[in-house]
């Protein structure tokens, strides 16, 4: 076999890299041209992308399916309320809150990561239900009546809207960059090894629990940021809305449809979810039935999601986090079908 060249990207991915930078720049100046309603909707989209990417980091890369991630969403909003009430600047409290959520998730991880599969999934749901009940006990929250992030009202409405937009855009870009860097670095190799076969990964010296814990805390932090940002856009805090399992249902929908375990898939899924919500969100209960049914169908018929299927079929890599082996002599078929077994192995390693 001739010497292969290890490459970490393709021509398309290098173009995509510039594309991403251009899109973020464009989004940063977009509020100049968008209506107030459109700015709000775009803010929601950024939050959905964070949620999808974080759930995907946990489930798609860490192999940890949780149906209790709403606990961090709710806590992100709750701590922000508490901090703002204590006199901290409301915008600052959004991010301090997320840091606290990340810190809280650490002891939870010590305990929950010892559970496996379904037990972890539903165990997290118990944690979420318990946390919801405990937050209700806080007098400041007034039970299910809830409260508001009043201190945000001192800012002018349009200035507030654009600031939250930029904060959401910045948070999304930063969190995606962190995740991308993590997956591309040496931890990324460990993460993908765990995703593909946990026991085998452990046997070659991958620190399974430590890596999973890192993903768990990152996901908690990211979802905490989303919860706090959501609070900033909607002002009111009702525990029932924020600790609703519906948030996890959205995350699962986005990731399943987009492509679980692919970096691009979560973003695509968030975009699709955003469009569906924009068009059919008014359909009420049928919209929810449709979401559940779509998730069901994807998990049965297309478990790799849209991006995963496209990637496998056409060998696409826009934001590559894995490694590819390209033979020095001949160009290799991107799908890896004609490649020798050694190459096939590397090619099939999904990014």
């Amino acid at each position: 076999m001739s010497a292969g060249v290890i490459e970490r990207g393709t021509a398309a991915s290098r173009i995509a890299g510039f594309g991403v930078a251009a899109i973020i720049l464009l989004l940063a100046v977009a509020p100049q041209f968008l209506s107030a309603g459109a700015v709000d909707r775009m803010t929601a989209l950024f939050i959905y992308v964070i949620l999808a990417a974080m759930w995907n980091a946990l489930a798609g890369f860490g192999g940890l399916v949780s149906v209790g991630q709403q606990v961090f969403f709710g806590l992100g909003a709750y701590f922000a309320i508490r901090l703002a009430n204590a006199g901290l600047n409301p915008f600052v409290s959004l991010f301090v809150s997320a840091i606290i959520v990340g810190a809280v998730s650490w002891p939870i991880s010590l305990f929950m990561l010892r559970l496996k599969n379904g037990e972890f999934a539903i165990g997290m749901w118990v944690i979420a239900a318990l946390t919801h009940l405990l937050v209700n006990l806080d007098r400041l929250i007034q039970g299910e009546t809830g409260t508001s992030l009043i201190s945000l009202n001192v800012y002018d409405a349009s200035m507030r809207r654009v600031t939250i937009y930029w904060l959401a855009l910045g948070s999304m870009a930063a969190l995606l960059a962190i995740l991308f860097g993590l997956l591309r670095g040496s931890t990324g190799a460990a993460i993908r090894a765990i995703r593909d076969n946990e026991d085998a990964a452990a046997s070659v010296g991958v620190r399974v629990t430590g890596t999973k814990r890192l993903l768990f805390v990152l996901a908690a932090f990211g979802i905490g940021v989303s919860g706090a940002l959501w609070l900033a856009t909607s002002i009111t805090f009702q525990p029932k809305t924020y600790f609703s399992v519906q948030w996890t249902a959205y995350m699962i929908f986005m990731v399943l449809v987009g492509g679980i375990g692919t970096f691009e898939g979560a973003i695509l899924g968030a975009l699709i979810f955003f469009l569906i919500e924009t068009w059919f969100g008014g359909a009420g209960v049928w919209y929810l039935i449709g979401l559940g049914a779509t998730a069901l169908v994807f998990s049965l018929l297309l478990p790799r999601g849209l991006w995963g299927t496209l990637e496998e079929r056409f060998g696409w890599r826009l934001l590559p986090v894995g490694y590819r082996v390209r033979l020095a002599a001949a160009a290799v078929d991107p799908a890896g079908e004609t490649a020798s077994s050694a190459q096939t192995k590397t090619h099939r390693e999904k990014a």
Binding site: R114, K116, E119, A121, L133, I289
Partner: protein, 298 residues
Amino acid sequence: MMNQIVQGVLLGGYYALIACGLSFMFSVMRIINLAHGSLAVLSAFALWLLASRFHIPPFLGLLVVLPLMAVIGWALQRFLLERSARGGALLPILTTFGLAIVIDNVLFEQFGADTRSLAPFIGSLSYDSWEWPGSIYVGKLAVIIFIAAVLLLGGLQLFLTRTGLGRSIRATSEDPDTAGLVGVDARRANAVAAAIAMVTVGLAGAFLGMRATFDPYAGATQLLFAFEAAVIGGAGSLWGTLIGGIVLALAQTLGATVHPQGFLIGGHLAFLIVLFIRLYTSGLGLRGLLGLASGKAS
């Protein structure tokens, strides 16, 4: 105090009833069905529909609903779980979660947000009680539910150990491939097990409707109760589920006496404490926690 303990133990019978289907399916197929609670609520709504629309009393309605639940269980295994289980351990979680969302919202679409109860259709049974020594009043319905739970768990135990079908289900749960080698039809065994599990869910749904109220989104709470009781009961025989249910109910009762909103908190805390102790003393993984009927039932 004595009164509360008695009520707690009786409530534990209900939790054992709803938990036994969950742990049974887990022990056979290694799948935790997230639509478990929603299916129980579905059964309660089916009975409610029969009673209010066609004047069929709930206990009679069970003759219609339980076979229906068995068919649903069989179909669930054949068309959803079997397929998604091939994609690894994580997919069934997502599949059944999607199913739960569909069931909850279809029920909401059909029946609206009103809370319902089967209590008006069972006559005086819903409030009749016996007086026990020490002026403890126990509801007849609560006693019936407890007895039903004991009979069901005992029946399931006998079925698994004494019948050919039960033995083939246990063989499949131990090792489907080897069971196939000795002529056990693993697909059939799993489908039968799912059907049986759904019958128990149907029964639990009926009692849920009789002893309390329910609404289209009540499934999630029931799922958590079932899961907590199953995990607290933990390793051992199916009887562990009964103990788990009783512990959960007693913890809730205790929580309620400490704080007006402490009922659910008490249950969740008990679950976490038991989990904590279990994880750090025995070092058992998932099989140890929920590893029920399969090997140890014999």
